[in-house]
């Protein structure tokens, strides 16, 4: 995963939750950050906007921490760019 992607995910989380970005690390889990189910839904909304992706419900059910979230975003970003290349 690129640092840039991780930074963008962590910034989206911090901005949504209105907490300092320094308090979010790649190894943080939602519980530690006080992220409840409604916060998580808002963070998904922010990530969809930030990366211009659609995050399906089934992608998010098992996600409990930041690393997993970054991995999921990366997968969707790569899938999107692959799809965009198909017409060539």
């Amino acid at each position: 995963m690129s640092d840039e992607l991780i930074q963008r995910v962590m910034k989206a989380i911090a901005t949504t939750k209105r907490i300092p970005v320094e308090s979010v690390t790649i190894d943080s889990n939602f519980l530690e950050l006080g992220i409840d189910s409604m916060d998580a839904v808002e963070i998904l909304f922010a990530l969809e906007n930030e990366f211009d992706i659609n995050i399906p419900d089934e992608e998010v059910r098992s996600v409990r921490g930041i690393r997993q979230m970054c991995e999921g975003v990366e997968r969707l970003v790569l899938a999107k760019s692959a799809a965009a290349k198909v017409p060539e």
Binding site: R18, M38, V41, E42, F45, E48
Partner: protein, 402 residues
């Protein structure tokens, strides 16, 4: 049945950010109506409203909490905080479990919905903010009050357009009177200043191009307002026993439906609600000294309300003092009746009847003593607060001075 005291009052509206400022503006007959600032009205035919000037959530809610609460529900919480502090409630686990919350709102958080729908319909975005639903729901005011104070008793919201808060206060009054609850927080809140909602009101052609002049011959309609007002209701004896300050008593509630037209008011429907309130309070019409009118300032309402008052009170109508405080705090829809019930309680408590502001010209169809422009010192024992909603759903509260 128990007598019911108002022991706490809170308000935020165009006239001020607390009850003291609200009372001061009413006493001075000073309207809070001016150019609308919180929404873009460049494409709207009317320009004036009764807003909470310069409102921001910052003094009341931290940023993250405010993310979850639409402006209308913020007003509900702010008013409830003041009312509960005013009442000097000492919370116990039992009290938290039995206390009731009944709020009224007409449009709820439709301003939040308006923003979200603009995103998808106009801007072509694919998604709406996920807090749109919990911010829009009309019961959000009651929910956030319950969460803030840990109140776990019966809590709900009524929506009957411009009568919402009167129905809400009335239900809470009945619950305290019957013994169903020992404490109720009741009122209403509204924040309708968003472009889509204003456009809808524009289309109704009931909003005044300048200001609200109830009962004045040159009236041109209502002025939209916003805000919230909450009351704390307790059994009178319990309130006296704990040494609470009692602002006034609520003694009656009358309700009716016009079963006529969806917007055109009916004098008969209004009269039936007034009679029902008198009956509920065991009062003769002659006992009433002041009426806080529905008084929207529309061509249709004011003569109809006048006719209803004449029908119920007969010769006594000429001895009644009547005023519309909507001329000052605007028509705050689902919050209106709460602001007006509060104004009525203050009038009884302070012996000062609020005026009908912006009044210029007598109208033979509204030939009542409407307290034009200047507040009047008068000790009144019993008063009514009228609310006659779009949809023909009417609610009238009867209050008594302590």
């Amino acid at each position: 049945m128990r007598r019911v005291a108002i022991t706490g009052m809170g308000a935020i509206c165009a006239l001020g950010k607390n009850v003291a400022e609200f009372a001061q503006a009413l006493a001075e007959g000073r309207p809070g109506i001016g150019p609308i600032e919180s929404a873009d009205v460049s494409q709207i035919r009317f320009q004036n409203g009764a807003e909470v000037k310069g409102y921001t959530h910052a003094p009341y809610f931290d940023d993250r909490r405010a993310d979850f609460i639409d402006r209308f529900a913020q007003f509900a919480v702010i008013a409830a905080r003041e009312a509960i502090a005013d009442a000097g409630i000492q919370w116990t686990p039992d009290l938290r479990e039995s206390a009731a919350i009944v709020t009224g709102s007409c449009v709820g958080g439709q301003s939040t919905e308006d923003i979200g729908f603009h995103e998808v319909y106009k801007l072509g975005h694919n998604r709406v903010h996920p807090l749109t639903i919990p911010k829009t729901m009309a019961n959000a005011g009651a929910s956030h009050i319950s969460m803030e104070f840990g109140i776990t008793g019966p809590s709900f919201t009524l929506s009957t357009a411009c009568s919402s808060a009167a129905h809400a206060i009335g239900q809470a009054f009945w619950m305290v009177r019957s013994g169903a609850t020992g404490l109720a927080i009741a009122g209403g809140s509204e924040a309708p200043f968003s472009f889509g909602i204003l456009k809808a009101w524009e289309a109704m052609r009931v909003v005044s191009p300048d200001t609200c002049r109830p009962f004045s011959k040159d009236r041109h309609g209502m002025i939209l307002g916003e805000g919230g007002a909450m009351l704390v209701l307790e059994p009178l004896e319990a309130a006296q026993a704990r040494g609470a300050r009692i602002h006034a008593e609520i003694v009656g509630l009358g309700m009716s439906a016009d079963a006529g037209h969806i917007t055109q008011p009916s004098a008969e429907g209004a009269a039936r609600a007034i009679r029902a309130a008198l009956r509920d309070a065991h009062l003769a019409p002659e006992a009433i000294g002041y009426i806080n009118a529905h008084g929207t300032g529309t061509p249709a309402n004011d003569p109809t309300e006048t006719a209803a008052i004449r029908a119920v009170f007969g010769a006594h109508a000429g001895r009644l003092a009547i005023s519309s405080t909507k001329s000052m705090h605007g028509h705050a829809l689902g919050a209106s009746a709460a602001l007006e019930c509060l104004a009525t309680a203050l009038a009884l408590r302070d012996g000062l009847l609020p005026p009908t502001a912006n009044y210029r010209e007598p109208d033979p169809q509204c030939d009542l003593d409407v307290i034009p422009n200047v507040a009047r010192a008068a000790r009144v024992e019993y008063a009514l607060s009228n609310s006659f909603a779009f949809g023909g759903l009417n609610a009238v509260l009867a209050l008594r001075a302590v």
